[in-house]
Amino acid sequence: MIVIKGIGWITLTRYGSIIKKLQGNYNDLKSLHSHLQHESVLKYAIKNFGRFDAVSKMTCCSIAIALNDAGIIYSEHMKHDTGILGTNNDGCFESNLAYFKDYVSCGRTIARGNLFIYTLPSTPIAEAAIYFGCQGPLLYIKFQHNQIPSMLRYAGKMILRGETSKMIAVEANEKKAVCFVLGKQDSASTMKALSLEGVVDTIEKISDFDEMIRMLNN
């Protein structure tokens, strides 16, 4: 049976987790990064966090909160078999525009490599894989409907198919992010976990992000 071991979420001013009921406010993503490090939610600084695009920042911070919620310890020196599945509605559309506008404004002679690397929808989760040491499958999938329930079901199937032992499933854009840590139920574990089907049933018909977080908290 696949269970959800941790959930982390971020809006433009707030963040929180579902199992450990962590909650807090923040001003900007730079201060969130510092705050999460201070609270030991981030175990060490995210290298080059300042040059990340907004979706990558939201992705990494929400994963840190979710892993903390799941009680999972990670280290930059210890890679582990965890996959990451990312999704959102817009892919990297804003980063595409930012990169190409910058290139055109420079007279179409030289592009900025640091903007170019964020023109892949999989870059935010790749930044996360590097920081958290996730060595499992890494892919971005855009689902046609019900992004978050579809993403959770898909991540669960990847575990059941034996592609990896744990999955991080994250939906992130510039304004909000929610991340789930999925794995097989471990009867020996004392950590609280939520059933995948239960969570999917809870959020299936909710389109509003704040309402979804409220329902998950209940």
């Binding site: 490599g113 890494l138 990847m158």
Partner: protein, 377 residues
């Protein structure tokens, strides 16, 4: 209970060699490259001026390049694409030339470059009524898409999946790779001692996968089987591979295990082989880790087709099936002076293929790795 097999029942491609699988296969066997001088946009200020593009496509007007590639492929009636096929679209940039036009002269709507718009067009071109997904994982996008499609079939979730892959040579992408110093000033020379980067290419294609039972029921000709796969991430660096090839080696080990075959069963190996110094070196290290001193014939098609990005994996799977069915290991085009590391593994000449199983691998930005095991049917 018998295990469900995922088999390919139809496929087609358009590459810089031209339309169809035969043109690409014959182009590779001719040892001539399709990489040439790029005239789509000004390239004087870039690191390179060469790329491999599909002949005859006009750039910057009306439809996007990927639609110009896909329309003739998908509108052919000969493939009988079932209406209930689940669509998996693999791309990194899709119709990015539409975004270029929006920024340059507002002759297109930027939002029309979004992959979900492309998905709708492809679904319509194929006449599909089922839902689907868009998969993006850098240069491993379409091999991962094919693996996921096979996974859906093997786990009995679906019995028919259509995988479509596409990416084009655009100013957007060309300028970006140039800024990363990733382009060879001349042409990509995979596994060559004098290699110095990749050449961009473009391609589109599709794989129609079915469960073996449905393929038999519908009297479909079976081209080959996707028998297993392994997906990993280096978790190391955004634009460069893990130097020791450990991430790719792990993907190959996972793929062999998933297909229930051993390294001794592998007849040849379709490498990612971009022509960059670090990628090709990393791949040989991964091969040594997996195969030890048992040297299997290795080839890369990118000296011929260029690096077709999100379409590369699907194109290479199709060429690998051709290789299995024709019992020929294609030559590595543009290979003149074999790098010492690769000596005994790669060849500039076609070889006879001894075996019925091959592995196709891809690696990409963000450290993504895929290995797909393909079997002759």
């Amino acid at each position: 209970m018998t295990e469900t097999k995922a088999v390919v029942v139809a496929c087609d491609i358009v590459t810089p060699y031209g339309w169809g699988i035969d043109s690409c296969w014959n182009g590779l066997l001719s040892k001539k490259t399709a990489i040439g001088r790029l005239n789509r946009f000004p390239t004087e200020s870039f690191l390179a001026q060469n790329a491999a593009v599909v002949p005859g496509l006009t750039y910057g007007q009306d439809e996007s390049i990927v639609i110009k590639m896909l329309k003739p492929l998908l509108q052919k009636n000969i493939y009988s694409i079932p209406e209930d096929a689940f669509l998996v679209l693999a791309t990194t940039a899709g119709e990015i030339d539409k975004l270029e036009r929006h920024v340059l002269n507002e002759s297109a709507d930027a939002a029309s470059s979004r992959p979900d718009k492309l998905f709708e067009k492809i679904s319509l071109l194929c006449g599909l009524s089922s839902p689907g997904i868009i998969v993006s994982a850098a240069c491993a996008s379409s091999s991962i898409a094919a693996a996921q499609a096979a996974g859906m079939i093997i786990s009995n979730e679906r019995d028919c999946v259509m995988v479509v892959a596409c990416d084009s040579v655009s100013e957007f992408v060309f300028a970006g790779f140039s800024s990363l110093m990733a382009l060879d000033k001349d042409m990509a020379k995979p596994f060559d001692r004098n290699r110095n980067g990749l050449s961009l290419g473009e391609a589109s294609g599709f794989l129609l996968l079915m469960s073996e039972s449905r393929a038999l029921r519908e009297n479909r000709p079976v081209i080959g089987e996707i028998a297993g796969w392994g997906l990993t991430n280096d978790a190391n660096h955004m634009t460069g591979p893990s130097r020791d090839g450990s991430g790719l080696a792990l993907a190959i080990h996972k793929a062999l295990k998933s297909a229930n075959v051993s390294e001794k069963d592998i007849g040849c190996f379709s490498a990612h082989g971009t022509g960059t110094i670090y990628n090709d070196s990393m791949e040989i290290k991964a091969l040594r880790t997996v195969f030890g001193n048992h040297k299997v014939p290795v080839y890369s098609i990118k000296g011929g087709t260029g690096h077709t990005l999100g379409a590369a994996g699907l194109l290479e799977i199709i060429i690998a099936f051709e290789s299995l069915n024709k019992k020929i290991v294609p030559p590595t085009v543009n290979l003149c002076n074999i790098d010492n590391e690769a000596s005994g593994w790669v060849s500039s000449e076609p070889l006879t293929l001894d075996g019925s199983v091959t592995i196709s691998t891809n690696s990409g930005f963000g450290g993504v790795n895929s290995a797909v095991v393909l079997k002759k049917y």
